[in-house]
């Protein structure tokens, strides 16, 4: 072995602890999950066959996709409005806005889910207020259904939608907006033809981020869904913890990982993911 070969071996040795850590804590468990999904209760593709045959499983998957898409849509809508307001705000106001966006991130997801239950339940603040105001005569079913899950998830996801969009909006040269107006565009035209297209990379990034996060959501749907609306993560927990059907649970977990990989793969073709999540590149 020559000198440069030895030197490069030295570098590889330095990486070894990190590689071992990753192998032991991430790769091995996932490989085990994959193995179980093909071997329990009996070896073969039986668990995966259920994807095509079991209506219950299909319903869980479609519910999850529907909720995730709706969550992504509303989180992007709200997030865009907030990011836009922050971009246009004065530097002082901007810091307060950003703080207001970030504070919810520091509060436990559990606390936030229960806070929504308090607000949305039959005798909650929202229903009571509406009834006292005479707007409704019967309490609205605001929680323990898909609506409740959606509210909780959108609330959780808005900051994750705001941050990538804000980053992309702040890269837009304000002179372009002035130039557009100077050339005869109304405020609406400036937004539609200049600001919106230039902020699209941020919207795509935020969309991918929120959608992927939403797919594996567990606590919020579990609490606000009241067990009646099942999403994939909760369904997996049910299979493994309550029904001890390891094969089915791990099969679904594998599908979740595959779905996330597929989403990332598709979007990596469209946009530069590394840049989207803020690491390197310019």
């Amino acid at each position: 072995m020559n000198a440069s070969g030895r030197a490069s071996l030295g570098w590889w040795l330095l990486l070894l602890p990190a590689v071992a850590l990753v192998l032991f804590f991430y790769v091995a468990p996932i490989a085990q999950v994959l193995t179980i999904s093909f071997s329990e209760p009996e070896p073969g593709l039986g668990n995966y066959e259920r994807l095509l045959t079991s209506e219950g499983i299909q319903r869980v998957i479609f519910t999850t996709l529907r909720i995730c898409l709706l969550t992504t849509f509303f989180a992007l809508l709200l997030g865009y409005a907030i990011a836009y307001a922050i971009t246009l705000a004065s530097p002082r106001a901007r810091n307060w806005w950003i703080l207001a966006v970030l504070v919810p991130l520091w509060i436990s997801v559990l606390v936030r889910a229960f806070a929504w239950v308090t607000l949305l339940r039959r005798q909650g603040l929202v229903n009571n207020t509406l009834m006292q105001a005479g707007v409704i005569s019967e309490p609205l079913p605001l929680v323990w259904n898909e609506f409740g899950i959606l509210v909780g998830m959108v609330h959780y996801m808005v900051p994750f939608a705001v941050l990538p969009m804000l980053a992309s909006m702040r890269e837009i040269d304000p002179r372009l907006l002035a130039a557009a107006r100077g050339l005869g565009a109304s405020r609406g035209q400036v937004f539609r033809q200049v600001f919106l297209p230039l902020s699209m990379p941020g919207v795509v990034a935020a969309g991918v981020l929120v959608f992927i996060f939403s797919l594996g959501f567990y606590i919020t749907p579990a609490i606000l869904g009241g067990g009646r609306t099942l999403m994939v993560a909760e369904w997996i927990a049910l299979q493994i913890l309550d029904l001890i059907r390891w094969g089915l649970g791990t099969m679904m977990a594998t599908m979740l990982v595959v779905a996330i990989m597929a989403t990332l793969l598709v979007f990596s073709r469209v946009v530069d993911l590394r840049r989207m999540f803020g690491s390197g590149g310019s």
Binding site: D173, R175, L176, A178, A179, A180, R181, G182, L183, G184, A185, S186, Q189, Q193, V194, P197, L198
Partner: protein, 364 residues
């Protein structure tokens, strides 16, 4: 009628205690090329932005052909504008950039295509229509910005330091192009710059600004030959300043009494006339001074020694130390120099009586 007349009436813009533009009144006739010239912070850009509609004046009015347009938002003014750094839309091709003002005005695709082609022809960029702005050089981007500002037949063309981002050679080229373009299309142009050469070579009218105030307004030759104040003489070109006491000023001329000698001054046009017996200041351009041959004479002659000199290729720049007038700077063509300059060389400087102009000290 192609060009439009622009007037500013007592235009003032204050930001809190800071007065960016202080009571500026000026008129530009249709088809003229006006340059707002001044150092940074002189208020020139603020004036341009008030004309464009991006800055709301604290006081005063902007008039187009006598009509008050002060309350109109920028998109209603129909002014073409070339921004500093060009502000081309990065997500649109060159053709789409140029078509933008037409698209927001709701023009049909067929109309747009013809006009975009004509505008790109005008700036010789037809071959680059499908490129993105970032695939173009600085000079090409500048031309796209021009085409985009002109494509919709604007009332005025506003230029915010349009050449400042380019290197010297390219800047000179584009200056010529801009001037030719102005002559060809006959629109009224308003240009902002801090580059006095650009202002002199391009403009029909120059407004010199300092600390938000209009110091002098006029044609390039008038401003260069007869600066009103020390600031104008100093900012537009280079100048020597001679201090002394004015003796017997009348319409024809005066004598500037300095400790060692009198300087004869003949007025070549209307100037700021100093008070008889009061302190006076003369501006004397370096290129109007010559080095005299032995026996040669001039209306004003000063003796001194060369303290420093620089060879400029086309000529020499001399700094001559004189007994009573301090340092005098002279620039002379190499072929006209009777002696090879050297440090310590005694020389006689001479200039005609109409070479120097009395100027005012600037208000502090």
């Amino acid at each position: 009628m192609k060009g439009h007349a622009l007037s500013l009436r007592r235009l003032t813009k204050r930001y809190g205690d800071f007065t960016a533009v202080d009571d500026v009144t000026l008129e530009v006739e249709q088809g003229q090329f006006l340059t707002l010239l001044g150092p940074s912070g002189s208020g020139k850009t603020t004036i341009l932005m008030a004309v464009a509609g991006f800055v709301e004046p604290t006081d005063g009015h902007v008039l187009l052909d006598g009509r008050d347009i002060t309350p109109l938002p920028p998109e209603k003014r129909d002014f073409g504008m070339v921004f500093q750094g060009y502000a081309l839309f990065p997500h649109m091709s060159v053709a789409e950039n140029v078509a933008f003002p037409l698209r927001v005005r709701g023009q049909s695709r067929a109309d747009r295509d013809a006009k975009v082609r004509a505008a790109l022809d005008l700036v010789q960029l037809s071959a680059f229509a499908e490129r993105l702005p970032k695939q173009l050089s600085g000079g090409q981007q500048q031309r796209v910005a021009l085409a985009r500002a002109l494509v919709f037949d604007p009332n005025l063309l506003l230029l915010d330091e349009p050449l400042s981002a380019l290197d010297k050679k390219l800047r000179a080229e584009l200056q010529e192009e801009l001037k030719a373009l102005h002559r060809r299309i006959g629109r009224t142009f308003v240009n902002v710059t801090h580059d006095q050469e650009e202002a002199l070579s391009l403009s029909d009218r120059i407004a010199i600004l300092n600390h938000g105030k209009l110091v002098q307004f006029g044609g390039p030759g008038e401003l260069y030959e007869r600066p009103r104040t020390r600031f104008v003489a100093d900012f537009l070109g280079k100048s020597n300043f001679l201090h002394g006491i004015a003796r017997g000023p009348d319409a024809a001329g005066m004598l500037l009494e300095t400790p060692g000698q009198g300087i004869h001054v003949r007025f070549a046009g209307p100037v700021h006339m100093p008070r008889d017996g009061g302190r006076a200041l003369l501006s004397l351009r370096p290129e109007k001074i010559s080095v005299l041959n032995p026996g040669e004479t001039a209306e004003n002659v000063v003796e001194g020694t060369v303290r420093a000199f620089a060879y400029l290729g086309a000529g020499f720049s001399l700094v001559v130390e004189t007994a009573h007038l301090g340092e005098i700077r002279a620039v002379l063509p190499a072929w006209q120099s009777p002696v090879a300059p050297a440090e310590g060389l005694p020389v006689r400087l001479g200039w005609a009586a109409d070479a120097a102009v009395p100027v005012e000290e600037d208000a502090p």
